[in-house]
Amino acid sequence: MAIPTDTLQQQEVKLSKDEIQRYSRHLIMPEVGMEGQLKLKRARVLTIGTGGLGAPLGLYLAAAGVGHLGLVDFDVVDSSNLQRQVTFTTADVGKPKSEAAKARLSALNPAIDIVSYETRLTSDNALDLFRDYDIIVDGTDNFPTRFLVNDACVLLGKPNVYGSIFRFEGQATVFGYPGGPCYRCLYPEPPPPGLVPSCAEGGVLGVLPGIVGSIQAMETIKLILGAGDPLVGRLLLFDALAMRFRELKLRRNPDCPMCGDHRTITKLIDYEEFCGIRGEEAPAMTDGIPEITATELKARQDRGDKLFILDVREPHEYQICNLNGKLIPLGELPRRVNELDSSVEMVVHCRSGKRSADAIHFLQTAGFKKLWNLKGGVLAWADEVDPRMPKY
């Protein structure tokens, strides 16, 4: 079941005395042995994203002696990453992730070749980037890039080791394996913006990407070795709270536009447009939504203006910081709209302004007129008005 790659066979490589010692726990296992370790050394693996999933992936692939590792990430390390992105240390905050990850993995295993790509993966660069690698591992965090990774892998005939997480639930599988399904067989279309879980339910338990990323590392190594049964045609679901793994069947869809019998997608497309997103942080609906800045709001409150504050975040967010507003989470708003008085002037806010814009759009359709969206949410309030307020 080994993947068909040119590089795995072509290069003549040997292990040095140091390498034999380093990999001795692999070498004494018949399933790996010298032959398997040399396959690992010849292998070329590209990881997309060096964050939560990319952290255990990179660490285990480097430690295992995967000879050529590519790391794609355009982001910089933020202190809020450290809760789960265990490749990075506090000293890395502010550094480019791909560079910081390369430094960490090189320190772990100086004998391997690591290339960092400090760039956003796009339809223009994906095929060129992928071409030099045998296996692509998808550790990204958004739908446009997931469809892009899938399509580029199918076009080039490369396996795509997939993992994704949400709060305390994970999914993993291998797409793009010869004869197996691709991401579009599972999800033909992306969810429209607004119907996906957003910041209201965001967040992730730090250990979860460690587990799912480790599963991706294991599947990558199995593909390289040709050992065992790859996670092809099976979607592994992991529920950390229940501590339960389940497995569902994944089938190649003969009508799949990407990998089906009659392929209709023959080149990479505009994935932001495909996913209905234009500019990652653009609020879904700003048209016709009046905004008030945190500074203006404070000034009006100081003048004694009676403004009703509606907070549409979740209760656990309210506990972190709040503006003493009435809390009705966005998801409960349709049911609880009768608790609100449409005759009073109302400022609606969330963390950064997107959910509150959605709430205002809803309230407008429900007949409310005196509405303001707090521009930038509590984050802007912390920046402009109250620097003691914690940001999250």
């Binding site: 939560g52 990319g54 990204t140 739908f143 709060r167 965001g202």
Partner: protein, 97 residues
């Protein structure tokens, strides 16, 4: 037929935080109808306005995708498990803005 519907994390906010719901239904469609009848906020997340299951939501009867069975008309039997598997994208960075 008593069946169990597994609710994925992103949708538990609409089911009073319950991770699974037991209901009585002869088909997968009936089970989902019963579920969204009880938890009305869930409806728009599973169905389009004209009542079709959304394309980014997969529904499984036990370990089989109902698209490869009889879709919503797939018949259930006692003790079956229906899973709702929405697409999730999370990976490296914070999801929220």
């Amino acid at each position: 037929m008593a069946v169990k519907v597994m609710i994925p994390t992103p949708l538990r906010q609409f089911t009073g935080k319950q991770s699974s719901i037991e209901c009585s239904a002869a088909t997968v469609g009936e089970a989902l109808g019963s579920l969204t009848g009880t938890f009305t906020d869930l409806r728009k997340h599973l169905f389009t306005d004209d009542g079709k299951i959304r394309s980014f939501v997969n529904v499984y009867l036990n370990d089989e995708d109902i698209r490869f069975l009889d879709k919503e008309n797939t018949r259930t039997k006692d003790g079956d498990t229906i899973s709702i598997v929405p697409s999730i994208a999370g990976g490296s960075r914070d999801d929220g803005k």
